[in-house]
């Protein structure tokens, strides 16, 4: 299937802590000839903090309804936004009463269930597809990568688009751009600790340490990921993890769109490769 236009749901971190993900996502889709139309006046999806499903449904019904008016499917670079959009879509599609309940909160929440929410990794690999990507790749990114999927790509079942225990889409993308996946199976889908960062930093730091040190011990040049909360925990907070645990890690962490962008011949600055917390120069030296 080919796509040429999608509604883009950036998610809150895209405006600040995950600016690098937002910039690189836009650059990559532009290079691939897919137009991203930002969901107008989008609101927060509720992230992991809205624990009441009704609240999640209401917040996301509005975003889905806006994309529905434009007749576009939604793509987001954030795994949690994806999970919330997708589970809202499933719930509202299946339940007329729930749809009516949403519309009653405000008419702008009236949603008919015609939008398919997607994660960027899904769109890149399954909609745009390997052949199309291959035809646009002009450089080899010969890095050793620890492909990190985190939580909502392979689970839970109703919204997942990859295998829960052994997801492959990112691995395939990395091979496609000339990279090498280091042995990382056990860690691929472990939680980064993000949701506990503000309330139990001790546990969250330990979770992040495990992911980062496993990547390091496996000989990775960098960790690749596809979620801004993972980016926050593993990259932006990495110096805090090091300080709190008295260790040195120094593991570069990049968004999958940054790596793909390099293979598409986009210059590092346009991929915001200077905005990652841990220096990414080691990667630039391996683009041939």
């Amino acid at each position: 299937m080919s796509v040429d236009k999608l509604a883009y749901y950036p998610g809150c971190p895209s405006e600040a802590t995950a600016l690098d993900q937002d910039i690189s996502t836009k650059a990559v889709f532009k290079a691939l000839g897919v137009e991203l139309v930002e969901v107008e006046d989008w609101n927060c999806c509720g992230a992991a903090e809205a624990e009441d499903p009704k609240l999640v449904y209401a917040l996301n019904a509005r975003n889905l309804a806006i994309a529905e008016k434009d007749g576009l499917d939604i793509v987001t670079p954030c795994s949690i936004c994806y999970y919330n959009l997708a589970r809202t879509n499933n719930a509202l599609k299946a339940d007329e009463k729930l749809r009516a309940e949403m519309a009653e909160i405000d008419p702008s929440l009236s949603y008919n269930g015609t939008v398919t929410p997607k994660h960027i990794l899904d769109v890149l690999m399954n909609d745009i597809g390997v052949d199309e990507l291959k035809s646009k790749i002009v450089k080899k990114v010969e890095v050793k990568v620890a492909p990190y999927y985190g939580c909502y790509i392979g689970r839970p079942l109703g919204t997942a688009f990859d295998d829960p225990d052994d997801p492959v889409l990112m691995d395939q993308l990395i091979e496609l751009i000339g990279g090498e996946n280091v042995p990382f199976d056990y860690m691929k889908t472990k939680c980064c600790g993000g949701p506990l960062m503000m309330t139990r930093a001790d546990i969250a730091f330990e979770m992040a340490r495990k992911v980062l040190e496993t990547a390091k011990n496996a000989g990775a040049d960098c960790v690749a990921l596809a979620c801004p909360l993972c980016g926050m925990m593993l990259d932006a907070k990495q110096p805090d993890v090091e300080k709190a645990l008295g260790i040195k890690i120094g593991m570069p962490v990049v968004y999958i769109t940054q790596l793909l962008g390099l293979a598409l011949g986009i210059d590092p600055k346009s991929l915001a490769l200077g905005k990652n917390t841990v220096d990414t120069k080691v990667i630039l030296g391996k683009v041939v």
Binding site: A16, W42, N43, A50, E51, A58, C151, C191, T199, A236
Partner: protein, 206 residues
């Protein structure tokens, strides 16, 4: 810990069954798959979602609702993905947390974990601006957690001084941060904040 049979509340499981995500609770056959794959159990060995479910089924309402472990679940949904009985374990725990919060609001329970304060502070910024506002969140959360403005700001600075500098230095937050001037410092406010207000009023019953 002996079970206080005279305190068991046989209706507790129904309370959970009625919450979204709680539907399959009674299908649990105590296989422990949820606990075995849990990343929190790996770090805190006493953490045991299977046991929380068993206690809930038995009706140990007080013990379950006052269990501090409720608040260290990372909502990673590994348990949910692996349960052979389709128990939506992650959502069951969330449902139990919501019941605990209601009990606290009613004055029947004291939750020691700061997590409800954090979640509320997060959602308050969404209600007000339509999007997460990190600084607003922190300015509400830390003073509440520390029980005072001065100690709160101190704790916040302690956690975020270095982080803030890093983000400012990379142009992600601060005067030149984000996509525009003062992004990350000032909230990113949507136009339809009135709809946000309605959502929170009607869903949260405020």
């Amino acid at each position: 810990m002996p079970i206080k049979t005279w305190e068991l509340d046989s209706n507790f499981k129904n309370e959970i069954l009625n919450e979204a995500g709680g539907e399959h609770l009674t299908a649990c056959y105590q296989c422990s798959t949820c606990t075995l794959g849990c990343p929190i159990t790996e770090i805190v060995p006493s953490y045991n979602p299977r046991k929380i479910i068993q206690m809930s089924l038995l009706g140990m309402r007080n013990e379950v609702l006052s269990n501090p472990d409720l608040w260290i679940c990372a909502i990673c949904q590994t348990c949910t993905a692996r349960c052979p009985q389709d128990v939506v374990v992650g959502d069951v725990l969330a449902a139990i947390r919501r019941i605990a919060e209601k009990e606290e609001e009613a004055g029947n329970l004291k939750i020691e974990s700061p997590r409800p304060l954090f979640e509320k502070a997060f959602l308050h910024t969404v209600e007000k601006y339509g999007r997460l506002y990190d600084i607003g969140l922190a300015l509400e959360y830390y003073p509440k957690r520390e029980g005072g403005t001065v100690s709160g700001i101190k704790a916040m600075m302690n956690d975020y001084k270095d982080f803030g500098m890093r983000m400012a230095f990379r142009g992600k937050m601060g005067p030149l941060g984000g996509h525009g001037l003062l992004k990350g410092v000032l909230p990113s406010k949507i136009k339809k904040t009135d709809v946000m207000k309605k959502i929170f009023e009607k869903v949260e019953g405020k």
